[in-house]
Amino acid sequence: MSNTRDPQDGTSMNCAEFQESIPELFESGANVSKEAHLLGCENCAALVRDLEYIASQAKLLLPIHDPSPTVWDNIQSAIRTGIDDKSAAPSGKRP
């Protein structure tokens, strides 16, 4: 637990207050790692590093899964039997 003083307005911020502010800080596009609280709090600094890392890794999650061939078979079948007849569309139905 750490109490640090914000050089901008002289108010102190503890870990709970800082962590409350994280969502807005991230969304503001500001460089969160430069926040005054982090200079004196390694725990919150590690938290911010991890959250930034998770967000950056998520962007690298590529589509890797292929549907089974059955999906295309069902689509073809539905198209053949008449896509305009909504009852023929196999939404949510598995053969």
Binding site: R49, L51, I54, P63, S91
Partner: protein, 196 residues
């Protein structure tokens, strides 16, 4: 939205599919099935449902492809169509996390705890894609939905708020909680590995 570079042969396939050419529709399916299915699977966390909704998304594409005018990239347009199919399905199932803002919040037990005064394992550089995929699968549905839409698929909070009928603030809050929960899941995975 991101990840929508032009795909060779796509424009021609779209034009022909709009004219009713079945082979061209199959080409579009081949080009986009992986991305649509991965989206459905990540949002739903269930293979059978993801396959059903992939099927439904492409059937909707078949019905609606004539309305595609090229105002956005085709992949963006199709992706949004698929997201809407999944959200419609979730609403039909009556999942509260996509219909009522106040119940978007998972229970307190599900929520991330505040990380005050605890020395952390450092994740940076130490998690792989498989571990992250697995952790995402284990997120509570409300968290997973917002995390997948924002961090994985690249939607903005205003778009997510619109899709989920919640406030922008709520979307931001859910995203933060999702990341915190993921951190917990990943760290507990690391601990288990270090013990084993």
């Amino acid at each position: 939205m991101r990840r929508n570079p032009p795909i060779a042969g796509e424009a021609e396939a779209i034009a022909k599919a709009q004219a009713g050419d079945a082979a061209s529709f199959e080409i579009l399916y081949s080009l986009h099935k992986r991305r649509v299915y991965s989206l459905c699977l990540r949002m739903l966390g269930n293979v059978a449902e993801a396959e059903d909704l992939t099927q439904e998304a492409f059937l909707q594409l078949y019905r609606k492809i004539g309305t595609f005018r090229g105002d956005s990239a085709f992949s963006t347009w199709l992706h949004r169509l698929a997201v809407n199919v999944v959200l419609m399905h979730l609403r039909k199932k009556g999942l509260p996390q996509v219909s009522l803002e106040e119940t978007l919040e998972p229970s307190q037990e599900d929520g991330p705890r505040k990380d005050i005064g605890e020395r952390d394992l450092i994740l940076s550089g130490s998690i792989d894609r498989v571990a992250l995929e697995r952790a995402v699968e284990n997120l509570p549905p409300g968290y997973r939905l917002v995390f997948v839409l924002h961090d994985v698929e690249g939607y903005e909070h205003n778009e997510i708020a619109d899709m989920l009928s919640c406030s922008i603030g709520n979307s931001k809050s859910q995203l933060h909680k999702a990341r915190m929960k993921l951190r917990d899941l990943l760290r507990s995975g690391q601990r288990k590995e270090s013990i084993a």
